[in-house]
Structure formats: structure tokens, C-alpha cells
């Protein structure tokens, strides 16, 4: 579409590159840095970066709800956890363990949880939605924690890492760098998909629900159905993050289904900046790095959530758009 005549009348200093070109240049540069990271970084930090990407994916999935549909989910630990236990099921039941099957199982598990949460919680608005998702996540936590014979209860499940396998072409075990590249590929693909979704007509409707739900309904959009689909999509990506985490760490534990994971997901979003998709990844990185540094400086037992919680409260009061909030419009253009 050619730009409207209004744009031409503004003799502003425009950058020589178009917005699209700049965007993809920056995107490529960041991606290149992330690809090169495991070649430069020591093994520990490389694995750490992989973990940040996975948390970032979880946070990004939640951003679809917080930043675009305008509803806050406190139940993302359920999707993440079901993805994790789904992957665990595939890795334990099928031998030899298959990477793709683990991801598919994880997605199926998360989709089940998401369907349930979406169907019930989207009937209610604002705060009630947040409370309902929180309680749903807690139901899943209680079930996973007490159903010891299947889920291993408090101890969780331990399994072997699958090989990276494409049938007839390649079958190699993962090591730190290849795992990083694999996760990076999945997260990048997810980012591009989510970005496409938010820019599609469907995403526009979601944003219009965020801006004015009553008006969107009055125009004739079935708001509940749009919300259900957005919760489902969000849950699927959260489940993908859970499956990746299970594959990277080779275990599944009920701690990750606990409310704290959902809470931290919301914190990543708020710190990084909602409605930007990449902001939550930055937020996750910021949070995990601070946590790691505090553990190194003050010991493992240091209650890192006290200073991080204070930072979080201060950010809500003084910087509600988050670290990348300034770039929000640019990123969504």
C-alpha cells in the first residue's frame, strides 16, 4: 500500500533506510550475535543464554495476552508445566527418545490445559481473569504434585536427552552449542510467527479488545471467541517453552508448575516492556542475569526475590512501559 498523502506533507528528517530495512538489519544483527554466542562464551554462560531464550519464549507467549489482548494471565506455569510433563511422557514412554515426538507431546499437553483454562476463564474480565487463571494453574499443580505414581510427585521425572534427528539425514547427540542453536531456531521462528499473528487482522482485533472491549463487541466481533483463541495460541507457545526446557535440562519438576513461575513470567513482561514481543525476552534476560549475579556475590541462599521484587515494584510505579517500552511503536510497525 502506498503511504497516505498525509505522510508526504511532513518534511521531517527521515532516515535513509526504510523502516522495514532497518528493522530486519537490527533483527539480523541481534540474531547473528546470538548465533555466535556459544562460540565465544564459556560452556556455563552458553547454557545460561539458552535458558534465558526459553524463559523469553515463555514470557513472549504471555505477552500476546498482556500486551495485545490486554488480559493478564497468572496461569502460564500450567501451560509451561504441561508442556514439560508432556515432553517427559514422550521421552520416557518412547524409546529411543525422539526429539520431535517430545515437542509434539508437550504441545498436546499444553493445548489441553490451554483449552480448559481458555474456555472457563475468558468468560470473565480483568482481575477476575487473572484470579481464575491463577487458580487453574494451582489445580494443575495440586494434581501433578499429588499424583505421585504418574508424575513422580515432589521428585519429578528424570529422563535422557533425545538426539537431534531428522529422519534419514542426521542423528547426532546434542551438545551445548547445538542445543543453543536449536533453541534459538525455535524461539526465532516463534517470534516471527507471533509477530505475524499480532500484525494480522486477527491480531488487530485482539488489540482492539485491549483498547476497548465494549466497542469491539458492539462492532460485531465475538470477543469471547477471540480471547479463547488468543489464550490457546499463548498456551501453545508456553507449552513449547516447557518442552524445550525439559529437553535442555533432562528433568521435569512440579516446582515449575507452581504459581511462582507464572509470577516470574509476568515480571519478565513488565520489566522488558509489554506489547513488544522482544521486550519480554530482554526482561527474562535482565531478571535471570541479576539473579545469577546475586547468587554469585551473596551465595545461593540469598533471597534474590527481595531486591528483584523491589525493582519490579519501582518499575511499575516509575517505568510502566518497561525497558523496551520506548521502542514499542517501532517494533510493531
Amino acid at each position: 500500500m502506498t503511504s497516505a498523502p498525509l505522510d508526504k506533507g511532513l518534511p521531517l528528517k527521515r532516515s535513509r533506510l526504510s523502516h522495514t530495512a532497518t528493522y530486519w538489519l537490527v533483527f539480523g544483527a541481534v540474531l547473528a550475535l546470538l548465533v555466535a554466542a556459544p562460540l565465544v562464551l564459556p560452556v556455563f554462560w552458553s547454557g545460561f543464554l539458552t535458558e534465558i531464550l526459553i524463559w523469553g519464549l515463555l514470557a513472549m507467549s504471555s505477552d500476546l495476552l498482556i500486551g495485545y489482548t490486554g488480559i493478564v494471565s497468572f496461569g502460564h506455569s500450567a501451560f509451561f508445566g504441561l508442556g514439560m510433563y508432556g515432553a517427559a511422557a514422550a521421552l520416557l514412554l518412547v524409546s529411543p527418545p525422539n526429539l520431535w515426538l517430545a515437542i509434539v507431546f508437550g504441545l498436546v499437553g499444553a493445548a489441553g490445559a490451554a483449552l480448559c483454562v481458555a474456555y472457563f476463564s475468558t468468560r470473565i474480565r480483568d482481575i477476575y481473569f487473572a484470579i481464575a487463571t491463577l487458580i487453574f494453574a494451582q489445580i494443575f499443580y495440586v494434581i501433578i504434585f499429588t499424583w505421585t505414581s504418574v508424575t513422580g510427585g515432589e521428585n519429578g521425572l528424570i529422563f535422557d536427552q533425545p538426539h537431534f534427528a531428522i529422519p534419514f539425514i542426521v542423528n547426532v547427540p546434542f551438545h551445548t552449542a547445538t542445543m543453543h542453536w536449536f533453541v534459538l531456531a525455535v524461539v526465532t521462528a516463534s517470534y516471527l510467527t507471533l509477530r505475524r499473528i499480532t500484525q494480522s487482522p486477527f491480531g488487530m482485533v485482539l488489540q482492539s479488545i485491549r483498547e476497548n472491549e465494549a466497542r469491539t463487541r458492539a462492532i460485531g466481533y465475538p470477543v469471547e471467541r477471540y480471547k479463547i483463541v488468543s489464550v490457546m495460541i499463548s498456551g501453545l507457545f508456553a507449552g513449547l517453552a516447557g518442552a524445550l526446557y525439559a529437553i535442555q535440562k533432562e528433568f521435569a519438576a512440579p516446582d515449575f508448575v507452581y504459581f511462582l513461575t507464572s509470577g516470574e513470567t509476568v515480571i519478565y513482561n513488565l520489566i522488558g516492556g509489554v506489547g513488544t514481543l522482544v521486550g519480554p525476552i530482554v526482561g527474562a534476560g535482565f531478571f535471570q542475569l541479576l539473579r545469577q549475579f546475586m547468587a554469585q556475590w551473596f551465595g545461593d541462599q540469598f533471597p534474590y526475590l527481595i531486591p528483584l521484587g523491589l525493582v519490579f515494584i519501582a518499575m511499575i510505579i516509575f517505568l510502566p512501559q518497561g525497558l523496551l517500552g520506548f521502542a514499542r511503536r517501532w517494533l510493531n510497525k
Binding site: V72, D126, I127, V142, T146, V266, L305, G309, I316
Partner: protein, 297 residues
């Protein structure tokens, strides 16, 4: 018919009666927690995530004050006073700057507060649960149990506090301020009521009530840093089932939910009995999203 008779015989009547009393006692404490929560929501539209943490800190304050003074009732009053002032300070520092922003901002801020307080308690008091002696050691015989009178006293005391709150809201000058602000804050301000001060006062009052319930609960549950989340979840369920901002509804709902969980615990593991109240919540959200006991507007 025989099978029905068998089933009726298999119901442990004595156990059910014990669980009824247990349910009512827990329900009264829960009602005290939930009425603070619903009061804060009704007046400020703030869902206070940190309410469970105020409950937990109140219990810890009670344990500490009890160890220092040796008098349970003095410890109760001290804990209520300290946590009440603390709550008011918390409101001034963190929530007052957020007035006028989206309610989601305030829920996130109180969530941050709850994280900080919970981890502070864990860091300060350690992971081992603290015990507290019951101030009244007399017991009466209930079937095969020696049932402590203390629990009955708790239920009565909670009822008395809630009644006092109701009378305060109904007849006291400041209670009328609170009700006026709940109904129409702009008009209340225009009539000369210092609305920001009322906000702070109500938050402090709610915090003090949470602290009282925490101290009352401490002797029979033990005190640890994670108890807050469990209680705030139950209180959320109660407040939603009873109707947000509806004081009477949340008291009825608190007793209803606690009885239900107590009966469920006869047949289920206590950790799974929680699911019963989750189910009630989901059904409420499906069929009466404004709450089971909400007055039609």
C-alpha cells in the same frame, strides 16, 4: 434398598460432626481474612495479592510478641497494631502513586509486594515452621476426641470482630466515610471526605484484620512463610464466590467453602480437598460470575 442402607451406615456421622465444627472454625478465620480483602477491593478496586503475606507476617509478629510478652492477647493486639501501621505505610508508598492507573497495575504491584514479603519472611525466620502454644488449654470431649475450647473461642472472636466491623461501617462517622467512598468516590470527595486518607485507613484496617486472623490461626496450624499464598488463594475464591466487595456474601461463602473442604477431607487427602473449592469457584464463574450471594444491581 439394602445397598442404600449400607451406604448410610458407612457415613461416619461422628466424623462429619467433628468436621462441621472444624469447618466453621476455619470458615470464621477465612471470613475475617476475606472481609479485609473485600473491603479493600470494594473501596479501591485493588485486588490485594499481598493480603496473604500480611496474614503470614501477622502470625509471625504474634509469635515474636508472644515470645517477648508471654501474653497471647497482648501479642494479638500488638501484631494487629504493627501490621495495621505497616499496611498503611505500604499503601502510601506503593499503591498511592498508582491511583488512577489501570487496576492491573495495582494487582501487579501488590503481587510484587507479596513476593518481597514472602521472601523476607523466609530469609528472616527460616524455612522451619514456628509453633505457638494455645492460650486456652481447656478441652471438652467430642465423641472420641478431646476438642480444644480454643477453637470455639476463635470462631466466636472472629464473629465478634466481623460484627464490630459491620457496626463500625454502619454507625461510626469514619465508617460512613468508608461507605460513602465505596459508593461514589468523586461525590465523597466533593462532600469533604479526605478520600486518599480513607484509602490508606482502609488498607491499614484490612491489614490489621489479616494480622489478627494470622495470630488466631497460628496455634493450630504453625507459622511458615508459604502459608500466605494458600490463604490468599482461599480468600480469593471466597471473595469471588461471595461477590466482590460484598461483605455479607463473603462471610457466608467463607463458611460454605470451609465446610465443603472439611467434608471433602473426610474422603480425600487434605491437599486434594482444595480441589473441591476450586470446583465451586469454576461453577460460580460459569453460572453466576458476579458471585453466588451478590445482590442484584
Amino acid at each position: 434398598m439394602a445397598s442404600i442402607g449400607q451406604f448410610l451406615h458407612s457415613i461416619p456421622v461422628d466424623l462429619l460432626i467433628i468436621q462441621t465444627i472444624n469447618g466453621i472454625v476455619t470458615g470464621m478465620i477465612l471470613a475475617l481474612v476475606a472481609s479485609g480483602l473485600t473491603l479493600i477491593f470494594g473501596i479501591m478496586d485493588v485486588v490485594n495479592f499481598a493480603h496473604g503475606e500480611l496474614f503470614m507476617l501477622g502470625a509471625y509478629m504474634g509469635v515474636v510478641a508472644f515470645a517477648m510478652t508471654g501474653n497471647f492477647w497482648l501479642a494479638l493486639a500488638l501484631a494487629a497494631l504493627i501490621i495495621g501501621i505497616f499496611g498503611a505505610a505500604l499503601q502510601i508508598v506503593t499503591l498511592r502513586p498508582l491511583i488512577g492507573r489501570s487496576p492491573l497495575n495495582t494487582i501487579l504491584a501488590t503481587f510484587g509486594i507479596s513476593l518481597v514479603l514472602q521472601n523476607y519472611a523466609l530469609w528472616q525466620f527460616g524455612p522451619v515452621a514456628r509453633k505457638m502454644a494455645e492460650p486456652i488449654s481447656a478441652e471438652f470431649t467430642l465423641f472420641y476426641l478431646q476438642y480444644p475450647w480454643y477453637r470455639i473461642v476463635i470462631a466466636l472472636l472472629s464473629g465478634a470482630i466481623i460484627s464490630a466491623l459491620w457496626l463500625f461501617l454502619k454507625f461510626n462517622r469514619y465508617g460512613v466515610w468508608i461507605r460513602a467512598t465505596t459508593q461514589d468516590r468523586v461525590m465523597a470527595q466533593a462532600m469533604g471526605i479526605p478520600v486518599p486518607l480513607v484509602y490508606t485507613g482502609v488498607f491499614g484496617l484490612g491489614a490489621a484484620m489479616a494480622a489478627v486472623s494470622g495470630v488466631l490461626f497460628a496455634p493450630f496450624g504453625g507459622v511458615d512463610s508459604s502459608m500466605g499464598l494458600q490463604w490468599v488463594l482461599e480468600a480469593f475464591i471466597v471473595v469471588v464466590v461471595g461477590g466482590m466487595g460484598n461483605l455479607g456474601g463473603s462471610i457466608v461463602a467463607a463458611i460454605f467453602i470451609s465446610l465443603l473442604e472439611a467434608y471433602a477431607a473426610v474422603w480425600l487427602d487434605p491437599s486434594q480437598a482444595v480441589i473441591a473449592s476450586f470446583v465451586v469457584l469454576i461453577l460460580t464463574l460459569l453460572f453466576r460470575p458476579t458471585g453466588l450471594f451478590a445482590a442484584p444491581k
